[in-house]
């Protein structure tokens, strides 16, 4: 069951909200946990057992760490075990098939192996559970003795499938006490509808253009078509990720929880460094807190810092998927970040704004080529097409795509900047009268919801682009 499915929108969510609001405050966590387990089991009836085992394992691991905090050595061993157990489960599901397939390439006789699909949300709830264990160890959070509260943090349905990755220290107080008001529910609904529109209208439409380009042999793609394809993907992935994040944040707010913003208009950045302060902020923050800083961060020598940065970015690439193109993408991002920090960052600051934006856009789009390519060979062929070595610089296909989708690109480009929010704000603030403003706002969002639902009905299948 996905957020943008009819069964979720018109069955699961209304029932969950009604039961939650009717329930007394002391039962609300239990109600939401039950809804979350049901939500997960609907999509993963086999792996819901693994989710429950993982949650219980981490609950008791956290209590064990808490019991040993006065003995630093024992506490360190306890947290190491907890982190290792989580990483082992994650690494097994995500990477063991990839690892064996790579070894098989080198062997005369292949090692046969059994494959298992990756449990939905494994990457999300594993990172969150690690966050809890480390926060308890560091003293940044208290041990959660209530198993329902802990399970709710780990398995909460708004964010278990596709994030954001919520740190335990951000949730700790909210699990005990939060306000559930009609105003917050309304704000949550608005945010959810915004995210739904991003996914159903923009991301899906852009995805169709990208699929058309990706289906063409790379040798027959002109530079124009290749850049259109890449540009379409760049916008698609932004609206996918940010749309799902908005839906998650909106749902959470309906239930009284506040998640931090996960995307801050990343495409208005003027450097890759700035981009990564605006893109998937929760994931980048997680890697900084729990990988980069424990490795030493930027303390120590320059070479050590570069090493730390590259390790983080290789892991970030691998987190997105088990294939060489994701690893190369991670290395690519890491190298540019190192360069901006130690080589040309200061020079970049002195360049005119338009030049910086072109620099940023070109480097980002090139990076996305590695991200969307099914193989390294394909990415190199695609990049070659982008410089005109495929089917020349301009062709009819590229012209046709531009002519038939210019309005989509205009709308998407505007929606990717603060312009869209400002425009919506102008419409909603059109009158000084509160009732009129409320009516306009409600009408606007109902309209957006209905249009999104119409797009969903005509698109029979609407997955999230990635399976985390």
């Amino acid at each position: 069951m996905l957020f943008n499915s009819i069964s979720f929108l018109f069955l699961f969510l209304p029932v969950a909200v009604i039961v939650y609001y009717i329930a007394p405050d002391r039962a609300k966590n239990g109600v939401m946990l039950a809804a979350s387990i049901l939500f997960y089991a609907w999509g993963e009836p086999v792996y819901v057992v693994l989710l429950v085992l993982s949650v219980l394992l981490n609950y008791f691991a956290g209590r064990d760490i808490g019991a040993k905090l006065e003995d630093p050595r024992r506490a360190r061993l306890a947290v190491a075990f907890g982190v290792a157990a989580n990483v082992a489960i994650l690494a097994f599901f995500k990477y063991y098939g990839f690892l064996i397939s790579q070894i098989n390439l080198l062997l005369p006789e292949e090692i046969p192996y059994r494959e298992l699909s990756v449990p939905l949300g494994l990457s999300i709830f594993t990172l969150q559970e690690i966050s809890y264990l480390v926060d308890v160890y560091r003293g940044k959070a208290q041990v959660q003795k209530n198993p329902v509260n802990f399970a709710l943090y780990a398995a909460m349905f708004p964010q278990i499938l596709a994030g954001p990755v919520v740190r335990y220290s951000d949730m700790e107080r909210q699990l005990e006490k939060r306000s559930v008001t009609a105003r917050k529910a309304g704000q949550g609904a608005m945010l959810f509808i915004t995210g739904l529109a991003k996914k159903a209208i923009l991301a899906n439409s852009l995805g169709k253009v990208f699929e058309q380009v990706a289906a063409m042999p790379t040798g027959s793609i002109s530079a124009l078509t290749a850049w259109i394809g890449c540009f379409s993907f760049a916008l698609q992935i932004y609206f996918e990720f940010s749309g799902w994040s908005d839906m998650a944040r909106g749902l959470a707010r309906m239930f009284g929880f506040e998640f931090r913003k996960n995307f801050e208009h990343p495409y208005i950045s003027r450097s890759i460094t700035e981009f990564w302060r605006r893109w998937n902020i929760s994931l980048v923050t997680w890697f900084r807190e729990y990988v980069y800083l424990p490795m030493g961060g930027n303390r120590g020598t320059v070479s050590r810092n570069i090493f730390n940065m590259m390790v983080v970015w290789i892991l970030t690439g691998m987190w997105h998927g088990a294939s060489w193109n994701f690893i190369v993408w991670g290395v690519y991002c890491g190298i540019i970040l190192v360069m901006e920090k130690y080589v040309w960052g200061e020079s970049l600051d002195h360049l005119p704004g338009p030049v910086r934006r072109i620099y940023f856009i070109v480097l980002t789009l090139v990076g996305w080529v590695f991200f969307f390519s099914p193989s390294l060979g394909y990415s190199l062929r695609y990049l070659t097409a982008m410089i005109g070595a495929g089917a020349g610089f301009v062709d009819g296909e590229g012209g046709f795509l531009l002519l038939t989708h210019w309005l989509l690109y205009l709308a998407a480009a505007a929606a990717a900047t603060p312009l869209a929010k400002a425009f919506a704000g102008q419409i909603m603030g059109i009158s000084g009268n509160l009732r009129v403003r409320t009516a306009v706002t409600v009408t606007l969002y109902i309209g957006i919801f209905l249009v999104s639902a119409a797009f969903l009905v005509t698109d029979t299948y609407n997955p999230f682009l990635f399976r985390f």
Partner: protein, 161 residues
């Protein structure tokens, strides 16, 4: 931890870690996929399916029936009844990546709904077959059968992996 003895939390975390590992092994054995080539799986299953009244279908039929493009997957085997009055069909697909699994399962679900609507009350025995459709995901292999012999076809599928 008191008096050097492990606390209850420590014991339980080890037990749960073992349980998680055991569950993963259980899944590997009973729900794990196979790296066997699709052609080998097809060769093992074909005699069983050829002995039925079903006919092997091509990519166009797959597109019409499920909305799936056969070239998107590394292997497709689709059999369906020769008569439109029968809901009997068997589909085996090997996906290229696990990201494609949900797409196929959604297509199967939509197919069941569509055919249930078509047969409705006119052919209740076919509707009952659809209600008892068998599905299985084993790694990158997806199996779907609507048939009175669905369990037998499922066994053939499991044994072929």
């Amino acid at each position: 931890m008191r008096d050097g003895r492990p606390g209850i939390a420590q014991i339980l975390k080890y037990i749960l870690a073992l349980l998680a590992a055991a569950y993963i092994v259980f899944l590997l054995i009973f729900a794990g996929g196979s790296t066997r080539a699709f052609e080998d799986v097809k060769a093992d299953m074909s005699p069983v399916l050829e002995a039925s009244d079903m006919v092997e279908r091509d990519g166009q039929a797959l597109k019409r029936s499920f909305g799936l493009n056969s070239r998107d997957y590394s292997g497709v085997m689709y059999y369906s009844a020769s008569s439109a009055l029968s809901a009997e069909e068997v589909l085996v697909i090997r996906v290229n990546s696990t990201d494609q699994i949900d797409r196929v399962l959604e297509a199967v679900k939509a197919r069941i709904l569509q055919r249930t609507g078509e047969y409705g009350d006119y052919l209740p025995e076919q509707t009952e077959l659809l209600e008892h459709a068998v599905q299985s995901v084993r790694g990158k292999y997806i199996f779907f059968a609507v048939s009175a012999d669905a369990a037998r076809y499922r066994t053939a599928f499991d044994e072929s992996l």
